[in-house]
């Protein structure tokens, strides 16, 4: 593949332009079950090559899934043509980096038979059904595996390889009791087959779905809220533009002019950590071939840095932080890696609070420019350290930045999201608006 990429780069440099290429390929297997048989069985192999050319300061992008000579010539031609339609961008350049970097995670494992994979895929449906007669369907269940490979090559000579193998299992439990319905979904990921925890996924889906059958609405009012790590991760991901220098450049980051100021509770510190030892997958370099390192975003409540790629860094006369993000078919942007939310000044739990385990509608119910959000939530009612009920059919609303001021730290251990890419100390949010019964 490197030779093919070099050939394309040479075609571009012959036109007195600079360029970088992204190649990615994936081989996948996915199965899901219905009525105790494998109802869908998908296999695939796919690839895509994307190019970013910079000619006379103008940037053009193009991509193709066909890698024959004719398609590659068209790829170069289109990228150069697209560059002609843009204006000169003084900040966008191919970084002057050379040399090879590798980030491959292929853990050794014994070959797993397709029969065993099938048996386990079936378990994700029948394992749920057999444990509770109230389960009427397991609509979301799957076993999947993926071999993923990507390369980056620049006209300055940087070549990177990223590769891994991963497995994902999902299950759910739709339950019906006297016409009252509930559903909960869970998943697990691993780098080797034997580490997949099938029973955990089944038990988690059943446990929460059973409890959600009892859900009751709550009176409209202000409540103390604890989010599970997955719910909290959804919120932080939704408002990731708050840490983005690209969003700041685009005037859609409400913290644009707040560097060096206290933006959230001074009990909290937020670190972007691409190399955290507990992460499901660390990441050694970004999509411009820049080596990554941990970045302090917020320290004791004070905004310390944004995510930068080389373009935003040039714009703000800063250094790239190794957060360039780009796929073969998308333009250069910025994106974070794994987040660590650390805290100090630990306080006791309040006597009464709600634990949010499920949050729906964040994709449409959040305003990333203002930080306002309103979402449907479900979860548990806790009193004096005991779970005393289940709530649902209510909405929770607020502003992301306000939320992070109305917070107290209630523990010191970093707890992980299910996908092991988000870690936070336990947090309690106070006086949060809930809309429910009148």
């Amino acid at each position: 593949m490197k030779q093919l990429m070099e050939k394309v780069i040479n075609q571009i440099t012959d036109q007195k332009a600079e360029a970088d290429l992204m190649f990615s390929s994936a081989k996948t297997l996915k199965m899901s079950a219905q009525k105790n048989t494998i109802s869908t069985y998908n296999v695939s192999s796919s690839q895509i090559l994307g190019v970013r050319v910079i000619k006379d300061g103008r940037v053009g992008l193009s991509y193709t899934e066909s890698l024959d000579d004719e398609s590659l010539k068209l790829l170069v031609k289109q990228a150069l043509q697209n560059a002609e339609t843009t204006e000169v961008n003084a900040h966008e350049r191919i970084l002057d980096l050379a040399g090879t970097l590798q980030d491959e995670l292929f853990l050794p494992e014994e070959e797993v038979s397709i029969a065993l994979k099938t048996e386990k895929a079936l378990l994700l449906e029948n394992g749920v059904k057999k444990l509770d007669h109230r389960v009427t369907a397991v609509p979301y269940n799957s076993y999947s595996e993926q071999d993923y490979l990507s390369h980056y090559l620049s006209s300055r000579g940087r070549f990177t390889t990223y590769r891994d193998k991963s497995y994902t299992i999902t299950s759910s439990a739709v339950m019906d009791e006297k016409g009252k319905k509930s559903n909960y979904y869970d998943f697990h990921m691993a780098h080797v087959f034997k580490d997949l925890n099938f029973q955990k996924v089944i038990d988690t889906a059943l446990f929460h779905s059973r409890n959600l059958l009892q859900e009751k609405t709550l009176p409209t009012g202000k409540y103390n809220i604890r989010f599970t790590e997955d719910s909290l991760q959804s919120l932080f991901n939704c408002f990731s533009n708050f840490y983005s220098a690209k969003s700041a450049m685009d005037q859609v980051n409400p913290w644009t002019n707040h560097l060096g100021t206290e933006v959230i509770s001074k009990d909290l510190s937020i670190i972007d950590h691409p190399l955290f030892e507990r992460s499901f997958r660390t990441s050694k370099f970004d999509s411009e071939g820049v080596q990554r390192k941990p970045l302090s975003l917020i320290e004791d409540g004070v905004l310390k840095s944004f995510y930068h790629n080389s373009v935003t860094a040039n714009h703000y006369k800063a250094q790239t932080t190794g957060h360039a993000a780009r796929s073969a078919s998308s333009p250069l942007g910025v994106y974070g890696t794994d987040l660590l939310i650390k805290g100090k000044n630990v306080k006791p739990l309040p006597k009464k609070y709600l634990e949010v385990i499920k949050m729906d509608g964040l994709h449409s119910g959040a305003n990333r420019v203002t930080g306002a959000f309103s979402v449907a939530v479900k979860g548990y009612i806790w009193e004096r350290g005991e779970r005393v009920g289940t709530f649902g059919n209510i909405t929770l609303s607020g502003k992301f930045m306000d939320l992070l001021r109305q917070v107290e730290v209630t523990g010191t251990d970093l707890l992980s999201s299910t996908d092991e890419s988000f870690f936070s100390v336990p947090l309690m949010f106070y006086d949060i608006s809930i809309a429910g019964s009148n």
Partner: protein, 459 residues
């Protein structure tokens, strides 16, 4: 010229049948994408690309086996087919096919006029300048996308069907700021067709509406919370039917009993004021298709008539598993997805009331003028929607603007509470994400009155 040698397809299908499949189809796709992002009053990105791939599906009993690749190589395609076929415990047979090209009525598109990049740029600059005349506008982002999808469908019944689908969309995103207050407004019209569609947009009106929407929400008060009647205006208001009911009528959910409506055929599932359709045949509409992704000519399907459930949205597997006839609704984002039963242009049919009559029938509630997106869990029917532009209704009159409203509830409940349906039907383009990827769909409705719904706002 065909995208791949028919003989290769023949051999692939024959291999699938020989392995014991009851049915085999092959989906070949070449898609040309073209896009321009105009931001910060300049072209930020100009991009084009070609997607190409082949999807192979084997059906045996109720089992679907699917594989895809970018390669046209006969051996690779046979390798994938044999890999899938090895999963079947059936008796194979020999098959010889003569593909017959399907002829079908073509849904009219808004032509496909090409314009050069300079022309596009001047068009986008004009919008940007108009919007920025308001000094409170801090950002304008215009995302122009154009796609030409060429598809070929072959199957073991000898079908060969092909369609060229041109898509065009211009997404407007406006950010407005006044001191510490900030808000945004969106508008994303799209159609099956070319530049003619963009030229027919009334730029002045589009800009005026965006500015009005942003100005209104910038200074709006927080929305009150609680259960109350809501009047939802036309156009994108239809997202409520799409999410609260449409997804629950797709056989993809019905076949797994993962829809609360799976056993309700012929029953009253909505208020008698509601008649709803899923129509793939509307000329130029964003969700229209001449044929679906299984090569079946698309249809106009009555889903609910006067509140009674009449049809599900069905594809080949849906028919096989539920017995409900195919409706020309098999759709997918690309060759990377097996087809599934999906909505096309879905809307509530016009009723008899003026908007003012609906508002006048609400003593105290909310007028949702413009809806945002939403989502649904088909298995429980629970949905949520955001409202982009909303106003209080007090004593049957629209009063002050409010912001931050979310509507939540369950499909069966809300369908029974749509008690009044207005006259003025309007359709709007959107993207729908589900089991077979993200596809263009149209939502729509006339104004409707929902007697009671939980509004999430500030407590």
């Amino acid at each position: 010229m065909q995208l791949i040698q028919p003989q290769v397809i023949h051999d692939v299908i024959a291999a699938g049948i020989s392995a014991g499949a009851d049915f085999v189809d092959v989906f070949v796709e070449r898609t040309f994408n073209d896009g321009m992002v105009f931001k910060n009053s300049r072209v930020e990105d100009s991009q084009s690309g070609t997607l190409f791939g082949i999807g192979i599906r084997l059906i045996h009993d109720e089992q679907a086996l699917y594989g895809y690749t970018n390669s046209t190589d006969r051996e690779e395609l046979l390798r994938i087919t044999n890999l899938l076929g090895a999963r079947i415990n059936g008796k194979g047979k020999d098959l010889t096919l003569n593909f017959e090209k399907l002829s079908y009525p073509k849904i009219p598109t808004m032509l496909d006029k090409e314009v050069d990049a300079k022309y596009k740029l001047s068009y986008l600059k004009n919008i940007d300048e108009r919007l920025r005349k308001d000094s409170k506008v801090s950002q304008v982002m215009l995302n122009f996308t154009k796609k030409k999808q060429l598809i070929e469908v072959y199957n073991s019944e000898g079908l060969f069907a092909t369609e060229e689908r041109p898509y065009i969309r211009l997404f407007h995103h406006l950010v407005m700021k006044d001191g510490n207050l900030q808000t945004e407004a969106f508008y994303g019209p799209g159609a099956i067709g070319g530049w003619e569609f963009i030229e027919k947009l009334n730029t002045e009106e589009v800009c005026e509406n965006l500015l009005k929407q942003a100005t209104t929400t910038l200074y709006a008060s927080p929305c009150p919370a609680g259960k109350m009647p809501v009047v939802i205006d036309n156009g994108f208001g239809g997202v409520i039917f799409h999410e609260a009911c449409g997804h629950l009528l797709e056989t993809t959910s019905v076949e797994k009993k993962a829809s609360v409506f799976w056993n309700k055929m012929g029953e009253q599932i909505a208020h008698s004021a509601v008649t709803a359709l899923d129509d793939g045949t509307i000329a130029g509409a964003w969700g229209s298709l001449s044929i679906d992704d299984e090569g079946m000519p698309t249809q106009r399907t009555t889903l609910i008539e006067n509140g009674i459930l009449k049809n599900f949205i069905s594809d080949r597997l849906g028919e096989l598993k539920t017995g409900h006839k195919r409706t020309g609704s098999a759709r997918r984002q690309s060759y990377k997805y097996a087809p599934a039963s999906r909505m096309r242009n879905t809307f509530i049919q016009s009723g008899e009331y003026e908007l003012a009559e609906l508002i006048g029938a609400v003593p105290n509630g909310i007028y949702a003028k413009k809806m945002g997106g939403g989502s649904v869990d088909p298995s429980t029917g629970q949905f949520n929607f955001s409202v982009q532009e909303a106003y209080l209704i007090e004593d049957g009159k629209i009063t002050k603007p409010v912001k931050g409203a979310t509507l939540i509830g369950t499909g069966p409940d809300i369908m029974s509470k749509i008690s009044m349906v207005g006259k003025d039907l309007q359709l709007m383009a959107g993207m729908c994400g589900s089991v077979s990827g993200s596809i263009p769909t149209t939502v729509g409705q006339p104004p409707i009155k929902v007697d009671e719904i939980l509004v999430g706002g500030q407590a």
